[in-house]
């Protein structure tokens, strides 16, 4: 009997080594060309470093250096001040592909596949033959360990080639140094952009970048508070895939289908679990371990038919409007923009995955007026650098008519033209990328809608600001008119006719015919009084704030109407601020506004209002947001109609 063909074939079938796997897939892993390879290497190193610091509650201090010893070779060094890695784990983390933690737990995180840093080590080894050097220090009083690592590409295992004890100044941290084939000349600009962008969405991180020629760039942190930790949640039935469902059934401790559903998924209570079982025509007492593939298919289909509550969304960790604004401000200092506005949407859900959209607009200053706006895209605090055209962010922006917001946009669709930077950050437990290279977000309708809503919201703020500015300029002109020109006209005509100069008050109210509200925000540095404050969990070093800024807001109200005016005035302030002194006595102070019921103001009379805010950084609050009530809002310049809270 001749040998079965399968045996013949088996002789040719060898286990594909990780090296081959990598070689075949290097374009989707971000190593498609020498420029990309450089950026991907820096990116994976920095992502790891940020994750390590955040997980252990340390404000990240990251040092990135790229050396360029020969034209093809770069040495990428990334250092952090994280907790370090115990020696035994080093080969697993840096030299084993697809080595990750439990993958069904769902949470917002930077990396999603665990291919990350070990791919860099492998790429370095394949292209230069050199070993990666890792230094790790886990405790202040212990020495650091230096390990040289190679990857056994057949076994997909890290092998320690050399190790030694070494001295390192840092209290703790990790440093990785990899030699790789890369195009420094082309890549360095992207590395800079990537690090700058990373710094914008990671305001709690301090990043130093040293170029091959020794030039150092500092991206300073603008927030001393670590982001809220994203929480793990169980997968939501709407987002699960059949394969994952089957895998979960093999790992569950539950012995009954109903408890499997309740314990291993989010948003499943008794009633929903029962409804799913009924829909799938499955006994709720079935042991998941004994279920057939077909039964899982019924279950999977039933998920889609039963109404299930949305997953919890508080597991997400958005950056927050104030911090986005602060870091945009810090990174665009050289541009000196005219204004920065941000908007944050409430969390929403697509296919069982919670997500949240935050956007920001930087406008004016030295930005080019005749070029398309610059779009900065971020997903889970990672900058997306490539494939802008294929991204849902771009599609959403292009579908808004920006012409009414003062930007050029031939035909009313497409990327608008004008002096602006648009920032979008999407936080989600599952970012739907268009491909494995994770550069563009797929056009999921829910996400696209949220991006649009967020941009509309921020665009409305832009428009309000512009309208306010235009009205103010006009009224300011009138101000000049009544204070300078009108008196001159009166004087000159009186002089020509040899008559006394007439009184102008009534003419002035006739010309102005508004209630004029003008405001000014100033900052005052408060020097450190050491105050014993409660222990702040967000302040890991346990220090008390030894100084800060007080925002002082002055509001002037002048009645240029012909009759006395009496109305209520509201001043909004950021929620994270604390109100200090308020003059005159307000009617009401909440966590977001101050209300005054003003006394009747006679024609051409003026009153001054004042309040202080603590707990803000300089520039967080540049311009008062003022509203009026019990007066025709068209009479008022400098405040809008109060629409309630």
């Amino acid at each position: 009997m001749p040998e079965a063909i399968a045996y013949e074939l088996a002789k040719k079938q060898k286990e594909i080594s990780v090296a081959e796997f990598f070689e075949r897939n290097k374009h989707i892993l971000g190593f498609g060309n020498p420029t990309r390879a450089l950026i991907t290497s820096v990116k994976e190193g920095v992502d790891n470093a940020l994750d390590a610091c955040e997980e252990s509650g340390i404000l990240p201090d990251i040092y990135v250096e790229v050396k360029n010893p020969t034209e093809e070779e770069c040495i990428v060094i990334v250092e952090d001040n994280g907790p370090g890695i115990i020696k035994q784990q080093i080969p697993h983390i840096f030299a084993r592909l697809l080595y990750g933690s439990r993958f069904h737990a769902v949470r917002q995180s930077r990396g999603q596949q665990g291919i990350g840093i070990s791919a860099v080590v492998l790429y370095g080894q394949l292209t230069t033959g050199k070993h990666a050097k890792i230094i790790s220090k886990i405790e202040e009083n212990q020495p650091a360990v230096l390990v040289e690592l190679a990857i056994d590409t057949n076994k997909n295992r890290g092998e320690i080639q050399h190790q030694e004890i070494t001295h390192w100044d840092k209290p703790s941290g990790t440093r990785i140094e990899v030699s790789l084939n890369a195009d420094y000349k082309r890549g360095k600009r992207f590395v800079y952009d990537y690090l700058q962008s990373t710094s914008i969405v990671n305001p709690h991180a301090r990043i130093v970048f040293k170029e091959a020629d020794g030039t150092e760039h500092l991206f300073e942190r603008t927030a001393d508070i670590l982001p809220k930790k994203s929480e793990e949640i169980r997968p939501h039935p709407y987002g699960i895939e059949l394969g994952t469902l089957i895998k979960m059934s093999k790992e569950t401790k539950a012995r009954k289908l109903a408890s499997f559903l309740k314990n291993d998924f989010s948003s499943m209570g008794d009633r929903t679990a029962d409804a799913v079982c009924d829909e799938a025509k499955l006994d709720r007492n079935l042991n998941p371990a004994d279920m057939s593939r077909e039964q899982f298919l019924f279950l999977y289909q039933a998920f889609k038919k039963v109404k299930i509550m949305a997953p919890p969304t508080e597991c997400l960790s958005p950056i927050g409007e104030t911090l986005i604004r602060r870091s945009l401000k810090s990174e665009t200092q050289e541009i000196s923009p005219e204004f920065i506005f941000t908007a944050s949407r409430p969390a929403s859900v697509f296919s069982g995955n919670p997500f949240q959209v935050e956007v920001g607009i930087v406008y004016g200053g030295n930005l080019p007026k005749d070029k398309p706006v610059k779009i900065l895209r971020f997903a889970n605090r990672i900058p997306l650098l490539y494939q802008q055209g294929d991204c849902a962010v771009t599609t959403a922006i292009a579908s808004i008519d920006w012409r009414r917001y003062g930007l050029d946009q031939p035909s009313g669709t497409g990327i608008p033209i004008g002096p602006a930077i648009f920032l979008t950050h999407i936080a989600s437990t599952q970012i739907p990328y268009t491909s494995e290279s994770k550069e563009a977000i797929a056009d999921v309708e829910e996400i696209e809608n949220e991006i649009k809503l967020a941009f509309r919201e921020v665009a409305r703020k832009v428009q309000m600001h512009i309208n306010k500015k235009v009205r103010r300029v006009k009224t300011r002109e009138k101000f000049d008119l009544i204070t300078k020109i009108l008196p001159e006209i009166a004087k000159k005509s009186a002089h020509m006719l040899n008559k006394p100069v007439p009184s102008l008050e009534k003419v002035i109210t006739r010309i102005m015919d508004v209630v004029w509200i003008e405001d000014l925000v100033e900052y005052e540095k408060v020097r450190g009084k050491q105050v014993q404050t409660k222990l702040d969990v967000n302040n890991p070093k346990g220090q008390t704030e030894s100084g800060g800024w007080i925002a002082k807001s002055t509001i002037m109200v002048v009645n240029y109407k012909g009759k006395p005016q009496k109305f209520n005035l509201y001043a909004l302030f950021p929620k994270n601020a604390t109100v200090g002194e308020v003059k005159p006595k307000p009617t009401k102070v909440t966590d977001s506004y101050i209300k005054w019921s003003l006394e009747s103001i006679d024609p051409t009379d003026k009153i001054d209002l004042f309040f202080e805010l603590a707990g803000l950084n300089k520039g967080d609050f540049d311009e008062n947001d003022l509203y009026v009530q019990n007066i025709n809002p068209t009479y008022v310049i400098g405040a809008d109609k109060w629409e309630g809270e």
Partner: protein
């Protein structure tokens, strides 16, 4: 020569009085004047020229621009009063510079001060000359068999023959061409040709067109100054000489003709002093572009807009202009006077002008 300016002073004072009265009554000070736009010119049958209609514009202190305008008006009338008292006069340009000392009332360009002087004419019904304001010499020239008598700086009368007593540049038209300054003595010519460009003026002079065809050549120098228009009008009325206007073929040149024949929109308040209603347009017409196969340029978007605007300009509503403007729009082309040189330097005087003159009934062949 001493003139009585008391009427002018009364009118000027009434402006200050109006503003002062408004302020006293707690009203927003304002001045009214005829709207100086295309939409507000009407043909005056008695005067045979285009004048402003009934629409009024208000310059009120309720807007910043209006307030500045009022303040500047106050300063300007005060300045005029001073000049009258001190028997001085100033050029429009000097007035602009004088305003340097007016603080807030300072003009930001000479255009502004020129316009305000015109506004004052419109408000008071006086002429710029009554305000002791005069333009710069503008250098428009005349060549032809004509003797003018001009009052010179030292108050002596001087006769000038506009062929024999002048060089190639011709006789320069002074800014004041009123009777006390200038009178026409002997004239031996059949018509006046008013020419837009200096190049064509020189060409006709060099070719001896003034003697051969018994023409008086007047150089318009683009949009003609008031004195040039006034000079042409007086020569036309006093010496009964027909006026032919010879310009480039584009919408801007048609407007030059309009201001010579019908009166300009900006100065419609004094059209009866400046316009020559019997002036005729000689060319270059859009029909000439076709008939003479002239070299052309493509109309720009501004040209096209200007032509379209002329289609609803009340001054260009007759058959001739409607036809020619529409023709030019359909051709999409414009041409210059000097494009006639395509056929040689003598072509304009030997062929083109004689043919056109026959066509217009000025010459018989």
């Amino acid at each position: 020569m001493a003139r009585d300016y008391s009427g002018v002073i009364t009118k000027i004072d009434s402006i200050a009085a109006k503003v002062y009265a408004d302020l006293e009554k707690s009203e927003i000070p304002a001045l009214q004047l005829s709207t100086r736009t295309k939409a507000n010119i009407r043909f005056d049958d008695d005067l045979n020229v285009w004048k402003y209609g009934k629409n009024k514009t208000e310059r009120a202190a309720s807007s910043l621009d209006g307030a500045y305008m009022l303040l500047r008006t106050m300063y300007l009338v005060d300045f005029i009063k001073d000049m009258i008292k001190e028997k001085k006069s100033s050029t429009l340009r000097e007035t602009y510079y004088i305003s340097e000392g007016w603080n807030l009332a300072k003009f930001s360009s000479q255009n502004e001060s020129d316009l305000l002087a015109e506004d004052l004419e419109v408000i008071t019904g006086c002429m710029r000359e009554d305000f002791k304001l005069r333009p710069e010499e503008d250098g428009a020239r005349v060549i032809g068999n004509l003797v003018v008598e001009e009052m010179t700086r030292n108050n002596t009368k001087k006769k000038i023959h506009c062929q024999d007593d002048v060089g190639d540049a011709g006789y320069g038209i002074p800014y004041n061409v009123e009777k006390e300054k200038l009178t026409f003595k002997e004239v031996d010519a059949d018509f006046i040709v008013a020419i837009e460009t200096g190049g064509m003026f020189d060409r006709l002079a060099e070719n001896g067109f003034d003697t051969d065809s018994r023409a008086i050549l007047v150089h318009l120098k683009g949009q003609p100054a008031r004195s040039t228009r006034r000079f042409i009008k007086r020569l036309n009325e006093e010496k009964k000489l027909p006026v032919l206007v010879f310009t480039d073929c584009d919408p801007w040149s048609f407007r030059i003709f309009g201001s010579v024949a019908y009166g300009a929109i900006k100065t419609a308040h004094i059209s009866e002093y400046l316009a020559t209603p019997s002036a005729q347009y000689l060319g270059v017409t859009p029909s000439d572009i076709e008939n003479y196969k002239l070299p052309t340029d493509t109309l720009t978007t501004e040209d096209i807009a200007a032509l379209k605007s002329e289609l609803d300009d009340p001054r260009f509503q007759d058959q001739f202009w409607k036809h020619e403007i529409k023709l030019q729009l359909s051709l999409g082309k414009k041409s210059e006077q000097q494009a006639l040189a395509k056929y040689g330097l003598d072509y304009v005087t030997d062929t083109y002008l004689p043919e056109k003159l026959v066509e217009m009934g000025m010459l018989k062949k």
